[in-house]
């Protein structure tokens, strides 16, 4: 490998990138844009869920329960219903997400020893996400309220107390979870969008012949093409990390150096894979689609960035082990939030090194200078 030729290819690629000014601008703007969108728009903290109440008991006990719902801040009572026949209309009308029904015997059952009073919550299951959250809130409110009523007039407290301590992200801020994970997603997009086109473009435009007639070797072309994108990618990460820390206050508890080194590894692997796709399919539209399905989507869906891997079906859980972004999300969260170092992250680091080597090898092998193929 000749460093002069390598740098010449890198320079050529850079000139080409620079000439397409709007693409370059987009490559720099996109990460910041994504960070702001994800950071500001997404939160699962549902509150003020609109519900209707059907109080058939009309006792002070039933009013206390309704007050407990309202006082929690999670629910807003929009309407008090008169009869059970209104319940269905409310739910289909899409005005409320749920209807709380307190049956006539509520106060009596509540006071009876050993007997649990029953209340009913009807939810609009067509919005499963919000309904699940609402159900959890309602459960917690009812359990707490029930315990308070049961203990009223007794000196004792609840028989078991649960002391919860939350590590790493004590306020359970979803932003702190998103920012580190987003770095992996952004890099997957950058890699998919930039490198997937780099070789296919040469084929489509017919400039591959010129490249083929030069004395450069395959590895030189692949590495030379990667270098400028590596630069863009690292710059994007730096911007995202600083913006995450400055705008959203995400703490960086671990070592910056380790983060940089592992980011570099991941980026080489992702770019290598993008180049491999580009060299293998030779058409830009096709390369983009494949790159998206094979790098971007898994990075968003299967990396644990947003969706819990443990809740997935077994087969899919197995597939996540093949997704490099999974390891990288573990690394970024580990370094950012947990503040752990190489002593914990070495398995991930090893696998990412393997991935980088594999990406480069695949790209070099798939890239053929021969014109007929």
């Amino acid at each position: 490998m000749d460093p002069v030729r390598l740098l010449a290819i890198a320079r050529k690629e850079w000139i080409q990138i620079r000439r397409d000014k709007r693409s370059l601008a987009l490559a720099f703007v996109l990460p910041l844009f994504l960070l702001l969108f994800f950071g500001y728009a997404i939160t699962w903290d549902v509150d003020d869920i609109p519900i209707a109440v059907l109080d058939q008991d009309r006792s002070s006990a039933s009013r206390e329960l309704i007050e407990a719902f309202e006082a929690s801040g999670y629910f807003t009572v929009m309407e008090h219903l008169e009869s059970a026949s209104d319940v269905g209309i409310e739910l289909i009308g899409d005005v409320v997400l749920g209807v709380l029904t307190i049956p006539p015997a509520y106060a009596r059952d509540l006071a009876a020893p050993g007997r649990a009073a029953e209340v009913q919550l009807l939810l609009d299951g067509s919005d499963a996400n919000t309904s699940t959250i609402a159900l959890n809130y309602a459960d917690a409110i009812v359990a707490r309220h029930g315990a308070r009523v049961a203990l009223a007039g007794r000196p004792a407290q609840l028989p078991i107390s649960l002391e919860v301590r939350t590590w790493y992200n004590p306020d359970l801020e979803s932003r702190h979870m998103i920012v580190p994970g987003l770095i992996a997603v952004i890099m997957s997009i950058i890699a998919a969008m930039l490198t997937a086109l780099t070789i296919a473009r040469e084929w489509e435009r017919g400039t591959m012949e010129q490249l083929a007639s030069t004395p450069v070797s395959r590895l030189e072309v692949v590495l030379g093409k990667l270098l400028p994108y590596l630069g863009i990618g690292l710059f994007d990460v730096a911007v995202t990390v600083s913006a995450g820390m400055l705008i959203f206050g995400t703490p960086l508890n671990g070592s910056v150096l380790l983060l940089a080194a592992l980011t570099f590894l991941f980026l080489v692997g992702a770019l290598g894979l993008g180049t491999f796709i580009s060299a293998a399919v030779k058409s830009q539209v096709l390369a983009m689609q494949i790159a998206m399905v094979s790098t971007y989507l898994p990075a968003v869906l299967l990396s644990g960035f947003m969706f819990d891997i443990a809740s997935m079906p077994v087969v899919l859980r197995g597939v996540t082990f093949l997704i490099p972004a999974r390891y990288f999300v573990t690394v970024t969260r580990g370094i950012f939030l947990k503040g752990v170092g190489a002593e914990v992250l070495w398995p991930q680091a090893t696998l990412m090194l393997l991935y980088a080597v594999l990406g480069l090898t695949l790209a070099t092998h798939a890239f053929k200078k021969e014109l007929q193929a």
Binding site: A111, N129, M193
Partner: protein, 376 residues
């Protein structure tokens, strides 16, 4: 235009469509990608997008080792929400397991738990939660609190005949098991269709320009309108076929109910596809290279997904973002699709969304045609 003129125009459009289809399907790889990738995406999304929290990995330190402490652990694991993966004696192992990510929660039951419980001294059980995934952490914490509370109430009721509290009976309409999949899969259809519309049309014109064949098209007798139709009709057809394909998979594989009518769904799809196509064409007219078109598409697509109510609830967004969602065709289409699939809603309930979507399609097509003429 005379009848003969119309006939010739139609002939030219048909030729153009045939050329486009041939170009698109010239190699098997493209064919495969166009028809297989939506299905892969549906399956990926269908299984991975899951906001239900289950099998939370748990590290356990039980200092007490009594039937009572085992009952507490059993209550947690029997719920299906927690799965004990590590048992150990040293409290330090809990922290290590969390550091290494081998467990998300650590449970420590103190020595004398059973004795304290019997004596009414309220033993304190420690729960250590990894907050890096705030979502899972919040839900897991809630589950644990509820389970412990219920166990406590049971212990108390059996001991002293105290009231057993309140029982919440929840029932969900339209989706009784509150499976997030039933909610998400219909929405995935919308996302996939939008993606394909954008991808194929955004590239359609840029590629001709980049490869240099646009000039050949311009010197042909095709008018701008015919050219546009020739470019968009094949994509609209492919998008409709993909929609049918993905819907079939959703119904058969994921068992998502389709309670509404198929013609209504088709009408919505047609309007949505028109809106998507015009957006793709707009991007195409603004871009000089395929790479730029691709980046621009992403710049539009990602916010469109975030602001659609697909994965993230709209109600919790800040006011400004909530208002932005109103300009998003995907949001309206998802409301229609979910309404038709899950609630069996029809035109009478969804006419607002239909009107908005139709308006967007009309406006989009007008602007796109205008831009298209101007750039040629």
């Amino acid at each position: 235009m005379s009848r003969e003129g119309w006939r010739l125009s139609w002939l030219r459009i048909r030729r153009m469509v045939a050329k486009e289809l041939r170009q698109l399907f010239r190699d098997d790889k493209t064919k495969r990608v166009i028809f297989v990738s939506p299905i892969i995406q549906l399956i990926l999304f269908g299984y991975a997008v899951n906001t239900d929290v289950r099998n939370v990995t748990t590290a356990l330190v039980d200092h007490d080792r009594t039937p009572e402490s085992r009952e507490l652990v059993a209550a947690l694991t029997a719920s299906g929400y927690f799965r004990v993966v590590i048992r150990s004696d040293g409290p330090a192992d809990l922290g290590l397991a969390l550091d290494q990510g081998r467990a998300v929660v650590g449970l420590e039951i103190p020595e004398g738990y059973a004795a304290d419980l019997a004596a009414g001294r309220a033993p304190a059980v420690q729960l250590l939660v990894d907050g890096t995934n705030s979502n899972t952490a919040t839900v897991a914490q809630g589950y644990a609190a509820r389970i412990v509370q219920q166990l406590g109430a049971r212990v108390m009721a059996s001991a002293g005949g105290a009231p057993a509290g309140i029982d919440l009976r929840a029932r969900a309409w339209f989706n009784p098991s509150l499976e997030s999949r039933v909610y998400n899969v219909p929405a995935v259809i919308g996302v996939i269709v939008l993606l394909m519309c954008l991808l194929l049309t955004a590239m359609a014109v840029v590629r001709e320009r980049e490869v240099g064949t646009l000039e050949q098209l311009l010197v042909s007798p095709l008018s701008a309108g015919e050219l546009m139709l020739g470019k968009t009709l094949p994509v609209a057809g492919i998008a409709l076929i993909q929609m049918a394909l993905v819907t079939t998979v959703a119904l058969l594989w994921f068992d998502v109910p389709l309670r509404g009518s198929i013609p209504t769904l088709l009408l919505a799809a047609a309007l949505f596809i028109l809106a998507g196509l015009s957006l793709g064409l707009l991007i195409s007219t603004f871009s000089a290279t395929q790479q730029e078109a691709f980046l621009a598409m992403f710049l539009f697509l990602l916010p469109a997904i975030i602001l659609s109510g697909f994965l993230y609830p709209i109600d919790t967004m800040p006011e400004l973002f909530q208002r932005l969602t109103l300009a998003n065709p995907l949001r309206h289409f998802l409301e229609i699709v979910r309404g038709i699939f899950l609630r069996g809603a029809g035109l009478s309930e969804l006419w607002v969304q239909f009107t908005v979507l139709a308006g967007m399609a009309a406006a989009g097509l007008t602007i796109a045609t205008h831009r298209f003429r101007a750039t040629l």
